[in-house]
Amino acid sequence: MQPLYIIILGSLIASCCALLGCFLLLRKMTMLGDAIAHAVLPGIVISYIVSGERDHTAMLIGATVAGLLTTFSIEFLSKKIKLQQDAATGVMFTGFFAIGVILISLFANKIDLDQDCVLYGEIGYLGLYNDAFIPIEIWRMLIILGLIITFIVLGYRQLLMTTFDLAFASSVGIMGALWQYLLMGFVSLTTVASFESVGSILVVSFLIIPPAAAYLITHSLQRMLIYACLIGIIGAISGYYLAVFLDSAIAAAMSVACGVELILIFIYVKLWKERVLSKAVY
C-alpha cells in the first residue's frame, strides 16, 4: 500500500487544476472542465473505430483531440458568432456528447465503450503499485505542471491583461485570442490527462473549488494562484484521510474535503468581515 503515491498524484492534479482554474474562474468559464468530461466521448468512439481496440493509449489520443476541438469550438462560437460563453459551452459539449452516443449506437453497440470503462482512471489504484519505479501517471502530471507553471510565468502579464481588460490588452498589442486559445489548450490537455489517471469528478472539483475559495480571501491574482494551489493540496491530503476514515471512494472524498475547505473559508471571511464592520461602527 503506497498512500504516498496517491497523495502526490492528488496534489499534482490539484495544483495543475487550481492554477488553470483561477483563470477560468475570472473569465467566468469554470464549467469547461465538466464540458470536456462529456465531450471526449466521440473522440473515444472514433479512435476505437479506427484502431479496433480499447487500448488506453489510443483512447487517450482520441480524447485529447476531442477535448481540444471542444474548447476551440467553444472559443470560436463565443468570439466569432458572439454567443454567450456559457451558452457556447452548453451547445458544444452536449453536441459532442450526443455525437458520441450516436456513434456508439451505430458502430459500437455490441461493446462496452464509455468514458467510465475505457478512459477514466481511479486514483486509488496508484496505491497498488509498490514497485521501485514511480508510476507513469505521476511523471505525466509532473511534466504538465511544469509546462503550466512555465506558461503562467512567461505569459503572466498577457494572461492578466486579457483576463481583466481585453480591450486594453489588444490596444497595447497583445493578441487576446492567441492567449485564450493557449489557455484553453492547456485546460483540455490537463483535464484529459487527469481524467485518465483519476476520473472526472475530482478534476472538475479541483478546477472550480480551490480557485473559488482563494477568490474569497484575496484580490491579487498572484496570491490567488498560490492560495488555490495550497487549498487544492490540503484538500487532496485531507481527502485521502477522509477516505481512509470512511472507507469510501478516494476521488469523491477529496472533492468533499475541498468543499468543506470552501465552507470554512467562507465562514471565516464572513466572521472576519463582520468584525471589521462592527469595529468601524464604534
Binding site: I104, S105, I234, I250
Partner: protein, 302 residues
C-alpha cells in the same frame, strides 16, 4: 503564514509515510481477492476453507458501474492472488492488474477455449461467458491448475474439490438442457434488457434479443423498441425478463408498448446476470443462480 502552511503539509506527508509501516499480520492461509461474486464463488468451490476468499463487488452490483473504495484498495494490496473474469468485464481494472508485478493474477477468461468465446470484432469478446456451463467448466479447470501450482501444500485437496465440482457442473449442464427440451423450438426466445445472455442462448438453443447493447451506457434507439415490440407481438411471446443489477424501467416500457397493441406480455421474472444473489440465499452460488434463471425462464416461456 507560509511557513506554517509548509510545516503543516510536511507533517501530513510524514504521517502518510508512517502509516505505511503497520503491515498486516499474515496467516498462512492464502488471501484471495475475486472481482465479482461469480468469480469468488468459483474460487470458493475449489479452495473451500483452506484459503480466505473475498469478493470486491457484492450482490446486485453492475460491474460496469463499480467504483473501488479505499478499503478495496487495501484488500487488493494485501492479496496473495487476484482472480478476475477478464475480457473487459471489470473495465480498466484488468489493465491495472497487468501492471502489478508482485502479485499473481489469474484471469478466468484465459482458461476458456478461444474458439468458443463469442467474438464481437477482431480484438473484443463478449465477457459474459459464465452463462455457458461448459466454458465455465474449462475456466474452473484452468483456475484450479493455477491455484494448485501456487499452493502446492493443498494441491491434492483442491484437485479433489475441483473433480467433485466439475461433476456437479456436468449435471447442471444436463439439467438445463432437460428443462428446455420441454419447450417447443418456436417458443425458445429470451428477451432481456441488456446483452448478457448471448452465451446462454447459444449453449441452450434460445434465441436471445435485448434492448440495450453490452455497455449499460449505450442507449437504445427508437428502432430497437419497435423491432422488439414487433417480434413480441408477431411471435406471440408471453414473457420478457428484467435483470437484478439493471433498472427495469426500459423493459416495463416495452411491456406497456405491447399491451397497447393488444398483445398481452408480462414480465416473466427477474434474472441474475452480472452478479449473484446474497450469499445466504439460494442464488448466492453459481449453480443456484443458473438453476434459478433456468427455472424462471423455462416456466415463463412455456
Amino acid at each position: 503564514m507560509r511557513t506554517k502552511a509548509f510545516l503543516f503539509l510536511t507533517f501530513l506527508l510524514f504521517n502518510t509515510v508512517s502509516c505505511n509501516q503497520n503491515a498486516k499480520e499474515k496467516s498462512n492461509r492464502l488471501y484471495i481477492i475475486a472481482t465479482t461474486n461469480i468469480v469468488a464463488d468459483a474460487v470458493k468451490q475449489i479452495v473451500g476453507e483452506r484459503a480466505e476468499v473475498i469478493s470486491l463487488m457484492g450482490a446486485g452490483v453492475d460491474p460496469h458501474l463499480y467504483k473501488v473504495s479505499q478499503g478495496d484498495i487495501q484488500k487488493l494490496s494485501e492479496a496473495d492472488i487476484i482472480v478476475s473474469n477478464g475480457l473487459h468485464l471489470e473495465g480498466r481494472m484488468n489493465e491495472v492488474f497487468d501492471r502489478l508485478q508482485n502479485k499473481t493474477i489469474i484471469k478466468l477468461s484465459d482458461g476458456a477455449e478461444p474458439d468458443k468465446l463469442l467474438q464481437i470484432n477482431q480484438q473484443n469478446y463478449d465477457p459474459h461467458f459464465w452463462f455457458d456451463v461448459m466454458i465455465w467448466k474449462s475456466a474452473i479447470i484452468y483456475l484450479s491448475k493455477q491455484l494448485m501450482s501456487i499452493d502446492t501444500a493443498n494441491a491434492e485437496f483442491y484437485q479433489n474439490n475441483t473433480k467433485q465440482y466439475i461433476t456437479k457442473l456436468d449435471i447442471l449442464h444436463h439439467w438445463i438442457n432437460e428443462q428446455y427440451s420441454k419447450v417447443v423450438p418456436q417458443k425458445r426466445i429470451l428477451i432481456t434488457a441488456h446483452d448478457a445472455f448471448s452465451y446462454y442462448g447459444k449453449a441452450y438453443q434460445l434465441e436471445v434479443l435485448s434492448l440495450q447493447g453490452i455497455s449499460t451506457l449505450s442507449d437504445f434507439g427508437l428502432n430497437d423498441i419497435d423491432r422488439l415490440t414487433h417480434t413480441i407481438t408477431s411471435r406471440k411471446v408471453k414473457s420478457i425478463f428484467v435483470e437484478t443489477s439493471i433498472s427495469s424501467k426500459t423493459i416495463e416500457s416495452i411491456v406497456e408498448n405491447c399491451n397497447r397493441k393488444n398483445h398481452l406480455v408480462s414480465i416473466g421474472g427477474s434474472l441474475y446476470s452480472d452478479a449473484l444473489g446474497t450469499s445466504d440465499s439460494e442464488t448466492g452460488t453459481y449453480i443456484g443462480m443458473l438453476k434459478y434463471n433456468t427455472q424462471t425462464i423455462a416456466q415463463a416461456i412455456k
